[in-house]
């Protein structure tokens, strides 16, 4: 089977768009990505559309009503925070199988405000605060504390993730926050769930991103190989059984499972990855994933963030877009926005935040429930 390429990709600036519909946001991102490829909706043979908030209401078909109803197959995906990456991967599978040559992948989300979480109830009674907590911040706080338990990782080390990613966002005109947050400001912000302050929680925003996925044959025929991005690995896993994951979601084991499969599929090792957009839904998560993705040894994340090696200009820049913490986290859009970010660096078009000379990059998301999707991309 031949390789699969991204030949066009873009995203709208993440932010709050109370007066715009999900389909309008999705259509804008799609048109930007089509323009990037120099193609139109009539060139697309299928649409894979990721959205969580309106997952039961045919978002992809509604986007087509704003793009042109060409009658192509539309597949809607919902997979928690891995929704966008799942839509992209369905497009990759379709091209890889040889069924299509050109497909459109969209991730789009309109978020509310406030804490995310299941809002679990049992026997009709809301159990939040009575039987522990099910908010996303409390879950990732508990997972951060697990890291502290194992390796002594400190509140300050977790907070440094937010300092770094907010700094990165100042160089990204598509990010929500675009503001510096010194360490003291991060650590003194409202405590949500120790060790997570408000500035260590990702920001709920509206957003959309899109990618045009293409067969090698078609990319060559269209003369689009010059800016094409090769998909070296596309992996999706669900959480394997671990002794505590029925009581607290385990995003470590599922990421390790996916990372192993992705490195094997790509035929590269962690030392060959030159930038990573990983799932920093909370500051604790970024450090957990340093070791899960094997860019440091187990127990090494605290020292790695202290070293500055994951900042722009460091050995392995992580979340130079600003990440979910500062660019924002519109659930269904995040996975494809990550693809856009890494592709933009591999094309050498990332401006002030460009990771110089990057040829191979990785995207990573996890979804509550749980799942993990990883893509490894390479300049063609």
């Amino acid at each position: 089977m031949s390789d699969v390429y991204v030949i066009g990709t873009d995203m709208i600036r993440f932010g709050r768009y109370p007066d715009r519909s999900v389909e309008d946001l999705g259509a804008e991102a799609a048109l930007l990505a089509l323009k990037d490829a120099g193609l139109g909706i009539r060139d697309m043979q299928a649409l894979y559309c990721g959205n969580m908030g309106e997952a039961n209401r045919s978002v992809g078909q509604r986007v087509m009503q704003h793009l042109g109803q060409t009658g192509i197959p539309v597949v809607n995906t919902a997979n928690a925070c891995a929704t966008g990456a799942t839509a992209f991967r369905e497009g990759w599978i379709a091209i890889k199988s040889g069924l299509y040559d050109l497909v459109l992948c969209i991730g789009v989300e309109k978020m509310g405000r406030g804490l995310l979480g299941g809002g679990a109830s049992y026997d009709g009674v809301p159990t939040e605060g009575l039987v522990g907590s099910g908010t996303m911040p409390s879950m990732f706080a508990s997972l951060g504390m697990e890291h502290t338990r194992k390796y002594g990782t400190t509140f300050e080390q977790f907070a440094k993730v937010s300092v770094k990613n907010h700094h990165h966002s100042t160089m990204n005109d598509k990010a929500m926050y675009r503001m510096e947050t010194p360490l003291a400001q991060v650590m003194e912000a409202e405590m949500i769930s120790f060790p997570l302050t408000k500035l260590m929680c990702s920001v709920n925003v509206d957003g959309a991103a899109a990618a045009i996925v293409c067969s090698e044959r078609k990319a060559r025929a269209l003369g689009l190989m010059g800016r094409a991005i090769r998909v070296r690995a596309s992996v999706l896993q669900s959480d394997p059984y671990t002794p505590r994951n029925l009581a607290l979601m385990d995003f470590n084991s599922v990421t390790r499972l996916a990372a192993g499969a992705a490195y094997e599929m790509a035929g590269v090792g962690p030392s060959e990855i030159e930038l990573i957009e990983l799932h920093d839904c909370f500051a604790t998560a970024e450090l957990m994933h340093y070791e899960n993705l094997r860019i440091c040894t187990d127990g090494g994340p605290g020292a790695l963030i202290d070293s500055g090696e994951t900042e722009l200009g460091g050995r392995i820049p992580v979340n130079v877009s600003g990440g979910l913490l500062s660019k924002g986290h519109p659930l269904g859009a995040t996975g494809i926005a990550n693809i856009y970010e890494v592709a933009t660096h591999l094309r050498g078009e990332a401006g002030l935040r460009q990771v110089e000379g990057a040829r191979i990059g990785m995207t990573h998301v996890v979804g509550a429930g749980s799942s993990c999707a990883i893509h490894i991309l390479e300049k063609a």
Partner: protein
């Protein structure tokens, strides 16, 4: 408690059961194939080894050790804070989450031994029903 209250007592977690004597206890599942002990209700196959029809109800220990926790300062609107959301490994197997109560936050330590207790609550529900929740308290060794 009176007989009326006993009859209407209802658990707030799948691993909490109400005994014939009206006293709550913890019950999970044990896989007869792989031996894993799970703090879950009934299911068709073992989540660890995938063997079908091998899970049998088993009494879970009401002692355990604190694995991880967080002090929740802000939760969903209307939920009283702060509280300590804890994850406890029960002696003999099974991990459950719940509130750790009666401790100053500074006194909490990983691996500290805890006792599972039960509290009866009057929360919104069918008229006349009362719910029981499990809580963790520190054990002085």
């Amino acid at each position: 408690m009176s007989d009326d209250e006993t009859e209407s007592l209802r658990p707030l977690a799948p691993f909490v059961k109400i005994g014939a004597d009206g006293k709550p206890y913890l019950e999970g599942m044990k896989c007869t194939s792989c031996g894993e002990v799970l703090a879950v209700g009934s299911r068709r196959a073992c989540p660890k080894c995938a063997a079908v029809g091998t899970l049998e109800a088993v009494r879970l220990a009401e002692r355990g050790r604190l694995y991880t926790y967080t002090v929740v300062r802000r939760s969903f609107p209307g939920v009283a804070t702060p509280f300590v959301a804890a994850l406890v490994d029960l002696d003999g197997g099974g991990t459950i989450k719940g509130n750790l109560i009666g401790l100053n936050c500074d006194a909490i330590q990983f691996d500290m031994p805890v006792q599972v207790g039960f509290e009866t609550l009057s929360v919104a529900g069918e008229a006349g029903t009362r719910h029981v929740r499990h809580v963790f308290t520190a054990v002085v060794e």
